[in-house]
């Protein structure tokens, strides 16, 4: 493994983690949006708020991590992607601003009109942001971002069948992860009605995602043949693993094992992300820019590897502390405050 491949693999771990944690936070906003009126939506919204409140900012940083590793280690790829895809990137960034600010502001006002406004903008931008990020993934995966500055078409690079598929799958996958995780959270709160609520939604969205994936096969075959060929050859084991894990998570939910279903759901999404990487390797930007050609010099890559190892040694235990603190107090508070 070269230094460039090692850095890329670590970056991809970061992207996967962003999808699994940051993605679930977006998905929580999706369910907030669909939770209905003030009265009816109160209980699920409270669980959502409780689950993402302490962790969303930390989960969001995985995206920053991916960006800084990409631009330092593979500068031409970052410049090409960001300049050609500036429109969906701007829209995603504004979505993140609306979402993060609204979530924080919602705590800090007691006026109902403003709470509604902030709640609505949190929920709405939780859906649009992963959609635009998905169109970006679709643009890169279908080879519509040529190397060079703004060398691709700023419109059709992300308004195309593969990008639309990417956007819809991103929103769906976020909603699926969130529903599966929230089942597990509801169980920790011993809240059976919320468990049933999110279990039904998790199963429906999982089936929908399966259907979209079937349509997606035809879309990719016609619109992104190079990616399609990679997915059905080298990427096939991972794609099959994703299907198996997805079906497994549904079965586990049906058998009331939300804790295990959470693991299976995360594996299903992880396998797709790595299937994409395997299918596209060795190209960062199909069909011409390879990982080696885009990589920064050895001195930079070595400095990156050192700082990634040291950084991980600081960040990973801190994250574990954060998550265990709030997982543990879930079960503690639910003992005292039954509702």
């Amino acid at each position: 493994m070269t230094a460039a491949e090692a850095v890329l693999a670590i970056m991809w771990v970061g992207l996967t983690t962003y999808a699994l944690f940051g993605g679930a936070d977006f998905g929580a906003g999706f369910w907030d949006l669909l939770a209905g009126g003030t009265e009816r939506g109160r209980a699920p919204r409270r669980l959502i708020e409780h689950s993402i409140g302490p962790v969303w900012e930390a989960n969001h940083v995985w995206l920053i991590f991916v960006l800084v590793v990409l631009w330092t280690s593979f500068p031409p790829a970052f410049a090409a992607i960001a300049s050609t895809l500036y429109i969906p990137l701007t829209l995603a960034a504004l979505g993140m601003i609306a979402r993060g600010a609204a979530f924080a502001f919602r705590h800090s006002t007691d006026q109902l009109a403003f709470q509604r406004l902030f709640g609505a903008s949190f929920a709405f931008s939780s859906v649009t942001t992963p959609f635009f990020l998905g169109t970006i993934a679709g643009a890169v995966a279908s080879g519509r971002v040529p190397p060079g500055i703004a060398a691709g078409d700023v419109i059709t690079s992300w308004l195309n069948p593969t990008s639309m598929l990417g956007g819809v799958i991103a929103v769906g996958a976020c909603a699926y992860l969130a529903a599966v995780y929230l089942c597990s959270d509801a169980q920790q709160h011993h809240d059976l009605s919320l468990l049933a609520y999110f279990r039904a939604r998790a199963i429906v969205i999982a089936l929908l995602l399966g259907g979209i994936a079937l349509v997606g096969i035809a879309v990719l075959r016609a619109d992104a043949p190079q990616l399609f060929n990679g997915l059905i050859s080298r990427g096939l084991p991972l794609i099959l693993a994703s299907v198996a894990a997805g079906i497994g998570s549904i079965l586990l939910l049906a058998r009331r094992r939300p804790g295990l279903a959470r693991v299976a759901g995360a594996l299903a999404v992880t396998a797709v992300i790595w299937g994409w990487a395997v299918a596209q390797y060795p190209y960062l930007l199909q069909p011409e820019l390879t990982v080696q050609a885009a990589a920064a010099p050895e001195t930079t890559l070595r400095a990156m590897l050192i700082s990634l190892v040291v950084g991980a040694a600081l960040v990973v235990p801190s994250l574990v502390f954060l998550f265990t603190l709030f997982q543990r107090s879930h079960s503690e508070t639910s003992q005292t405050a039954k509702h």
Partner: protein, 465 residues
């Protein structure tokens, strides 16, 4: 086909989007820098207030300190959240607006941002622990969880400013036949500007936070609420800022010397100096027209003294810089003057407080003192923005000083300016909403409980979302 047509129209309509790109960067960075200051300066103040509130030496816990710590923590939480997301768009903009910079120099320039990413990670994690863990952790552990938050905020500022310092004094690479070779990201991070610029920025963050928070309580006291809660709410942050103010003046002298040595053209623009020479006066104010500063107040030998501590020291003027490569003088000179003037005014305020404290162990009795403190928060923000404008505009027309022109780094994508209009609209709404929420926080301390605790959720979110 229709979409293709649209891109062509965009391309025809817009020959160059350099100006909108610069304005978008200025807007989003100029906004972020203010909230980022609170991310650097606030954690230490919140943790200090919590520490002083804990019961000690047989005494009960300090209720006023406790209430202040909780209110400040809530404000810090809101500012940190908007800082996190307003910082994200900046990282997108690095590539959306300046792909020429990133494609060529990301391998060097990007490295401190990677370290900053980790600092931001640590700060985000411990802000979550600190805000939501208030009633879930033992008091001592909770207080300790504030320490990584403080350290990471300061470290993050250092790394970001190191990257900016590299744009001013690029090191850690060579250019051979137009190719960037022999890259050394560590040398790039510790470029000649890093030390002075980062100390200057961290002190600025402390001053913005200190004067900013104190001004809120000064307004409260002017409205007649001069209970102990308001008095310590004013005194704690004001003392911190007052200690930073004189140090900042000294650091200002240090940074001016670094600029004079490595970026003489920028220094000349900051001082509005055309003619190189010895025994150069210090010029304040004035308008720069036809290579001359008109209407400025001059202090004889002032600039030579400042830069060389010698009245006959030589200072290079803009005449040494080719006409096409000179920065915009008026913007640079005036914003520099504004920063320095406010810096000295804030030093005066700090001295006033110190004098009254030394004489009577109390803040000055006159309402004029409270009025001055009430203004000081805004003044510190203006000084911050002015200093940032002086350093960024003074670097023009270079994005990487004497290596790459800003216009060579800007994206050539069509329609870039529409992105600016959209970002502008969103930031106007964001500004209004942030101001509204912070105002409500300052008025609501009586009802204050642990910052983001479940009781609050029950009480407030219950109303609907």
């Amino acid at each position: 086909m229709e979409a293709l047509g649209m891109s062509e129209i965009l391309a025809l309509a817009v020959p160059s989007d350099l100006f909108p790109a610069r304005m978008q960067m200025a807007l989003s960075l100029g906004w972020h820098i203010v909230v980022a200051c609170f991310g650097v300066g606030f954690p230490a103040m919140v943790v200090f207030a919590e520490w002083r509130s804990h019961p000690r030496g047989g005494k009960d816990s300090d209720k006023d300190m406790d209430a202040l710590a909780h209110t400040w923590a809530k404000a810090m939480g809101v500012l940190f959240a908007v800082g996190a997301v307003s910082g994200t768009i900046l990282s997108f903009e690095m590539g959306m607006l300046w792909p020429g910079l990133m494609a060529r120099f990301g391998q060097i320039y990007g490295f401190p941002f990677t370290l900053e990413g980790f600092a931001f990670f640590i700060e985000s994690i411990f802000v979550g622990v600190y805000l939501y863990g208030w009633n879930r952790l033992p008091p001592r552990i909770h207080l300790l969880s504030g320490l990584p938050m403080i350290a990471a905020g300061v470290a993050g500022a250092f790394f970001v400013v190191a990257a900016n310092g590299w744009m001013n004094t690029p090191t850690g690479f060579e250019i051979r036949n137009g190719q960037v070779v022999n890259t050394d990201p560590w040398a790039a991070m510790f470029n000649p500007s890093t030390a002075s610029q980062s100390v200057h920025m961290i002190l600025a963050a402390v001053m913005v936070t200190g004067f900013g928070v104190a001004s809120v309580y000064a307004v409260g006291m002017l409205r007649g609420r001069s209970d102990r809660y308001h008095r310590i709410g004013l005194l704690v942050p004001l003392t911190v800022a007052a200690v930073a103010a004189p140090i900042q003046i000294g650091v200002g002298d240090w940074i001016a010397n670094v600029v004079a040595k490595y970026q003489p053209g920028k220094l000349a623009a900051m001082e509005g100096l055309y003619q190189s020479g010895t025994g150069v006066p210090l010029s304040m104010g004035g308008i720069y027209v036809d290579d001359r500063l008109v209407g400025a107040i001059e202090i004889p030998y002032g600039l030579s003294l400042l830069i060389h501590h010698d009245p006959n020291g030589f200072v290079a003027g803009l005449d040494r810089v080719p006409p096409g490569l000179r920065p915009p003088v008026n913007v640079t000179h005036l914003s520099y003057n504004v920063m320095v003037s406010i810096g000295f005014a804030l030093l005066g305020l700090a001295a006033w407080l110190a004098w009254a404290w030394w004489r009577r162990r109390d803040i000055p009795r006159t309402p004029w003192f409270l009025r001055a403190v009430a203004l000081s928060g805004l003044a510190a923000v203006v000084a911050l923005e002015a200093g940032w404008v002086a350093t960024e505009v003074g670097r023009q027309p270079w994005i990487v000083y004497e290596i790459q022109l800003t216009r060579d780094a800007v994206s050539t994508a069509p329609g870039l300016r529409f992105g600016f209009y959209l970002v502008l609209a969103v930031y106007i709404v964001l500004t209004v909403m942030t101001a509204y929420v912070l105002r409500r926080l300052t008025g609501a301390h009586e009802a204050s409980i642990a910052p983001q605790e479940p009781e609050l959720e029950e009480q407030r979110v219950g109303g609907g979302t």
